[in-house]
């Protein structure tokens, strides 16, 4: 088939870049003394390293029909909107979502590999530049905020977005957008 190559695993340098990015993020969590996030990003980094090394291909929920995934997502979204945020039980629910998602995406099976042509490379470059610039801008705001001992002199994204989530409507919009994004990504995984 035109534009497709064999089912080869990506070279190690492609894999390592994600691990490097997560290590940098882990360092930033340590820098801002966010110990919960440090634990989370440590776990993420370890899972990525394990995933890059292991040949284990447990496909636990891989064949679950997408309509059941959507139905589960609707029920979970409702719970996320109705239940009070920022407590232990809610944290357990959100952690359960992570375990469910990993079960859905862990499988290593590839169908075909699209050639990394110039169009893809340009797109990669542009999105990476945009993401890196945003990350630097946010990091700069974080550092300056610490230096000026004020969250509002150079506000971070969290400081700007969090007040919008105080109302029930704000929470509902956030949950719907977050879940739609997750489902959209899951659909892409199912299409491969």
């Amino acid at each position: 088939m035109a534009g497709l190559k064999s089912n080869r695993e990506p070279r190690l340098r492609h894999v390592s870049l994600w691990i490097v990015a997560f290590c940098i993020n882990l360092g930033l969590q340590v820098f801002r003394s966010s110990w919960n996030d440090t634990a989370i990003f440590s776990m993420f980094t370890l899972v990525l390293i394990f995933a890059s090394r292991t040949k284990s291909n447990a496909a636990i929920l891989q064949n679950l029909k997408f309509k059941y995934v959507v139905e589960a997502a609707l029920v979970i979204s409702l719970l996320l909107i109705v239940l009070p945020w920022h407590n232990l039980n809610f944290g357990i629910l959100v952690a359960a979502i992570l375990i469910l998602v990993i079960s859905l995406i862990w499988s290593r099976e590839h169908s075909e590999r699209i050639v990394r042509d110039k169009r893809i490379r340009r797109s990669e470059l542009l999105w990476v530049i945009l993401a890196a610039a945003l990350a630097l801008w946010e990091f700069g705001a974080n550092i300056l905020g610490i230096q000026f001992k004020s969250l509002y002199v150079f506000p971070t994204i969290s400081v700007l977005v969090d007040p919008m989530l105080d109302s029930q409507g704000g929470k509902a919009i956030f949950v719907c957008m977050w879940m739609a994004m997750g489902l959209g990504l899951l659909r892409l995984v199912r299409q491969r």
Partner: protein, 71 residues
């Protein structure tokens, strides 16, 4: 103009640039740059990339829904 608004305008600029990049490359509109959908479809085939993307998505939700953000 205060530093608060300079910072906010910076974020909004990134939002507009991201929207523009998505809009002008969507559905094969651009012959030179692949759409975000094409890009994600390609990179999500690799397990580490797939996990990294979903970890980022999940943490975004965790950060706002579970973490207590100082303000």
């Amino acid at each position: 103009m205060s530093t608060y608004w300079i910072t906010v305008i910076g974020y909004l600029s990134f939002l507009v640039l991201g929207f523009g990049l998505w809009f002008f490359t969507r559905k094969d509109r651009s012959r030179k740059v692949a759409s975000l959908h094409e890009l994600l479809s390609r990179i999500i085939r690799y397990r580490v990339t797939r996990l990294a993307i979903f970890f980022s998505w999940w943490w975004f939700g965790w950060h706002f829904m579970v973490n207590v953000i100082g303000r």
